[in-house]
């Protein structure tokens, strides 16, 4: 309330006739100021916990013939959509091999981490759709028969099988589209119209040896 100290000084300037009015206004001001400030002065504001926050997206490709042959692509964004993300790839594909892709999508800012994929995305599979894209790398993919059903009879894209062709190096992209107006898995990688992207991650420098 230090703003009010100067008022005392001020009153001396004024004619005593208007003292009453000034006092009235001052006390009115004080009351209102106190009423507003006291209500939220002491307690700290609540932090905003963003819903459906995604911090970690991990794609694990496992060779169907050799479970020790894996490629792990991870994207870590500690602040979710509100900050930068870092992408890394560990391992390389073997030419001619077939890989199963399993996804892990979590919110690691909570302890224990939230399983966003199984708790949020799959239960609302009809509102979500994964699409994939590759560039300069000889990877093809197919949505598994056992994939979760997504929007409009399309497969969601959580269970997929990838085939590595001739040796090459390139990029792999995964997007998760929320509430697309149209989804289409006929070309396996998938395409959408409308909706909003919850994820759009590109892993660069993937390798087939």
């Amino acid at each position: 309330m230090n703003t009010l100290n100067f008022k005392t000084m001020k009153i001396n300037f004024l004619n005593s006739n208007i003292m009453k009015t000034t006092k009235f206004f001052l006390s009115l001001f004080l009351c209102v100021a106190l009423a507003t400030s006291c209500s939220n002065d002491d307690d700290n504001p609540d932090p905003v916990n963003e819903e459906e926050l995604i911090t970690n997206v991990i794609l694990t490709f496992t060779n169907n013939a050799d479970s020790n042959d894996t490629v792990v692509m991870s994207s870590i964004a500690p602040d979710g959509q509100d900050g930068t993300s870092t992408e890394t790839i560990v391992g390389s594909f073997t030419s001619g091999a077939t890989y199963s892709l399993r996804l892990a999508i979590t919110n690691a800012s909570e302890t224990p981490a939230d399983d966003v994929l199984n708790d949020d995305i799959i239960p609302e599979a009809d509102e979500h759709f994964f699409t994939y894209a590759v560039n300069s790398i000889n990877l093809t993919m197919a949505r598994d028969a056992g994939d979760v059903d997504g929007p409009d009879g399309n497969k969601l894209g959580v269970n997929t099988t990838w085939t590595a062709g001739a040796a090459s190096t390139g990029n792999v992209q995964i997007t998760l589209v929320h509430e697309p107006t149209g989804a289409d898995d006929s070309n396996e990688f998938g395409s959408v119209t409308g909706g909003s992207e919850d994820l759009n991650i590109t892993f660069t420098g993937a390798e087939i040896q």
């Binding site: 703003t3 100067f6 400030s37 504001p45 905003v48 995604i54 964004a77 900050g83 560039n135 909003s196």
Partner: protein, 797 residues
């Protein structure tokens, strides 16, 4: 009969023992400066006796009977005064009259200047010009002043730009209250219903120190219609329709005034429009739903008065659907396609993205005038601003706003106008303000603007000195103290990245998993000053020179922004290290007023130390793809320019008008142009008037806006990581020049003695020209509004 009366009177006198030998003497003086007034007529009603004051201002009546009398005191140019006097002996009575009501700004004479300042670059917009904009916004009407432009988000969110400066650098006063409506954001339009305004003053620069010391751009003073001291009931109703957007608006004002000085006014407006249309396509989701109501009442006479005022404004504003973008690639596609990606059939529906803002204002003011001294004004006002911004959200969050801010402001002010000497008026005053902002966490989106409390204290003194018949000198100085006390969450990663840990580790009050809660408290001491001189060269020419010093502390958005601004789909990063801006503005004007030709040329030079602006920087890689990153930057800047207005009467029926503004802004550190500086523009109008034919007038206006060649190149490249393509994001290149023609015509029909009907028919953008404006934030996504035919009926009663 006469004899009977005399007899009756005689009898009465005897009955009541009335003594008729008393005298009434005294003098008449001017109320505000105590000077003697001669030739004042004094009249005793009961006795039918007249006298006038002599050269010393003295009067005397003899042979007055005891009892009550009514004395009527009148003088040319004065308000007539009626005094009840009880005669019970010889009476000496000194009477005061006010002889300078006009000079003291207590009444307005039509055509008289009613300016707020003596030497600032000030323009007045009168009520008939404001009425033409009944369906539009404050920003639109202000653009009729040369040198004032606007920065827009679409065509309904219009922020005034005065000599290249806007937002926190422009103070908006509404009926004596400084508008506190989160004015920091470009997409936050001033919450004022233009229909409540009787007159608007636009003051370039910070010369009007009574309103604040931080008006580096200028001050807009919106005043309600003047009070009339008479027993009247009058009103005005405006009904309008617009073809573009299928808009309609209705506004009504009703006034009741009494001889006793009591007055009351109620005013309400409703405006609605659906999707606007550019020449080639619908601008989907650009509807507006605006309601406002205000009321005021009070009592005033020359010596004292009070007013109570309340206003409520509710705006729901749709924002072009195509402007909703995700990652930077969407923005790039929008820029390159030249066409909005969402075009639907016309609708009145307002969907996300949209804003819903309510602004309430309550005010109580009181003034009293003291003899030989001046006037004392006291005021308390309260404002409540609630802003919701709805983004395109998904699922359960669809109906939850992404921004939910409640800003409350209390202000108490006192000022004194010492006008006993009209040649040397002195004003001084103090102001105290408390502001509280609450950012609702229920949005589920990290707060862009934190919770804060703000305390302001200001004191000023100004002198207005009529040095000689030709010369007016004015000067003023002001001190302001501001304290911002915020509770702000920072992501730990951002906190480290900004390097705040080194300088501000002591303000952390709580540590969470990924965030710090901090309590920044910043104090600012600001000095502002103004000095000016006006000199009449001769009857037709006048020159004015003015210097302003202004200081503006950084606003909460410049200090604390640190995250994704959902509605803009970009990251905005502020800096808590910012210093206040300090501006030195020099200006000179030349005014020429002759019978046929009127000229006004205004030049200015504004040097701003530590100028803060929002700069497109580059991008940030997120799990949703790359997003644009804009950072607040601080630099030294200079702005200079010339504003020119001329009218010329070709004949008594044809009039020409030109308004031209040129401005240049430079970032002195980067040695490059400033961003968002209006391009050179010139408006020419030819007007035909025929007063004998129902005051008919028709005008054709050409508006020519040049391309802005002086812009900073903040373009950057983004690599599409999938394809390794490098993509240029061209967010700097201004749109090409454009030329628009507008037509307007009006006539007024008298319906009865006190009632008339004014009909206005206009066509904006006559040739349905496609164009985009550099200062429209949505210029990346769609063309501006096309042809619009407007019809407005105004009934005055």
């Amino acid at each position: 009969m006469k004899q009977i009366s005399i007899l009756l009177c005689f009898v009465t006198c005897i009955v009541y023992g009335q003594d008729c030998r008393y005298s009434l003497k005294g003098s008449v003086k001017d109320f505000h400066d105590g000077s003697i007034i001669q030739d004042v007529t004094l009249y005793i009603e009961q006795l039918n006796k007249y006298t006038t004051t002599n050269i010393k201002g003295e009067f005397s009546f003899a042979d007055i009977c005891s009892g009550s009398i009514v004395l009527v005191v009148s003088h040319v140019n004065c308000e007539t005064k009626t005094i009840n006097i009880t005669i019970d002996g010889d009476i000496e009575k000194d009477i005061t009259l006010e002889h300078h009501v006009e000079e003291l700004n207590e009444v307005t004479v039509s055509g008289a200047s009613n300016k707020e300042t003596s030497t600032a670059q000030e323009s007045l917009i009168k009520s008939d010009a404001i009425e033409d904009f009944s369906s539009a916004s404050l920003g639109d009407v202000l653009k009729t002043v040369s040198g004032v432009s606007s920065i827009n988000t679409g065509s309904t969110i219009v922020k005034p730009v005065i000599n290249g400066l806007h937002s926190s650098r422009v103070i908006i006063m509404n009926n004596g209250v400084r508008l506190q409506d989160q004015e920091w954001g470009i997409e936050h339009a001033p919450n004022i219903d233009i229909n409540g305004a009787g007159e608007i003053s636009v003051i370039k620069g910070s010369g009007a120190l009574a309103y604040g010391g931080d008006a580096i751009g200028g001050v807009v003073v919106v005043k309600p219609s003047r009070y009339i001291s008479a027993d009247t009931l009058y009103g005005r109703t405006i009904v309008g329709g617009q073809t573009n957007g299928r808009g309609y608006n209705v506004s009504s004002t009703l006034n009741r005034n009494y001889n006793s000085g009591w007055f009351a006014q109620i005013q309400g407006t409703y405006k609605r429009n659906g999707d606007f249309k550019a020449p080639d396509y619908n601008l989907t989701n650009t509807g507006l739903d605006s309601k406002s109501i205000s009321g005021r009442f009070g009592k005033r006479d020359f010596e004292s008065g009070f007013e109570v005022y309340y206003s409520y404004l509710d705006n729901e504003i749709g924002i072009l659907g195509a402007s909703h973008v995700g990652s930077i690639f969407d923005l790039e596609r929008a820029i390159n396609s030249g066409q909005p990606n969402l075009i639907e059939d016309f609708s009145y529906d307002i969907n996300a993205p949209k804003q819903e803002v309510t602004h309430q204002m309550a005010k109580a003011s009181y003034f009293k005038r003291f003899q030989n001294f001046g006037k004392v004004n006291l005021q308390y006002d309260y404002q409540h601003n609630q802003r919701f911004e709805f983004d395109v959200r998904i699922g359960d969050r669809r109906d939850i706003p992404a921004i939910d801010l409640t800003l409350q402001t209390h202000t108490i002010s006192a000022d004194v106008n010492l006008d006993a000497n009209l040649n040397r008026k002195i004003d001084f005053g103090i102001i105290g303000r408390f502001q509280d902002n609450f950012a609702n966490p229920a949005t589920g989106v990290r707060r862009l603007i934190p919770d804060y409390e703000k305390y302001d204290f200001g004191a000023y003194i100004t002198v207005d000195w009529q040095v000689s018949d030709e010369t007016i000198f004015d000067a003023g100085i002001r001190y302001d103290f501001n304290r911002i006390d915020a509770k702000k969450f920072y992501l730990k990663s951002r906190w480290d990245e900004r390097g705040y840990d080194d300088d501000f580790s002591d303000i952390i009050i709580e540590e969470l998993a990924t965030q710090f809660l901090t309590n920044p408290v910043f104090d600012y001491h600001n000095i502002s000053a103004s000095v000016g001189l006006k000199y009449d060269i001769n009857d037709t020419s006048q020159i004015i020179g003015n210097y302003n010093l202004a200081s503006r502390p950084p606003n909460v958005s410049e200090l604390f922004s640190d995250g994704l601004h959902h509605s803009a789909a970009r990251f905005e990063i502020g800096d808590i290290r910012f210093d206040k801006e300090i501006a030195n503005r020099f200006s000179a004007s030349y005014v020429y007023k002759a019978q046929k030709l009127n000229l006004l040329a205004e030049v200015f030079y504004n040097r701003i130390k530590d100028f803060i602006y929002l700069r497109p920087f580059d991008f940030i890689n997120t799990i949703r793809g790359p997003f644009p990153l804009w950072e607040y930057q601080q630099t030294n800047a200079e702005l200079y320019g010339i504003d020119f207005t001329a009218t010329y009467e070709l004949t008594n029926k044809f009039q020409l008008e030109n308004k031209t503004a040129f401005i240049r802004g430079t970032d002195l550190e980067a040695n490059s142009p400033l961003i968002d500086i209006p391009a050179f523009n010139t408006t020419n109008k030819i007007r035909y008037t025929n007063e004998t034919w129902h005051n008919f007038s028709a005008s054709l206006k050409s508006e020519w806006v040049f391309v802005q060649n002086k812009y900073p190149n903040f373009n950057f490249e983004v690599t599409n990581q999938l394809t390794n393509e490098s993509i240029l994001i061209d967010i700097s290149t201004p749109p090409p020049a454009y030329h628009l023609l507008h037509f307007s015509s009006e006539a007024t029909f008298a319906l009865s003695k006190a009632t008339n009907l004014n009909i206005t028919l206009g066509v904006n953008n006559l040739f349905n020209t496609s164009y985009r404006n550099y200062l429209n934030r949505l210029r990346f996504f769609a063309d501006d509004v096309g042809r619009n035919i407007t019809l407005q009926l105004q009934l005055n009663y």
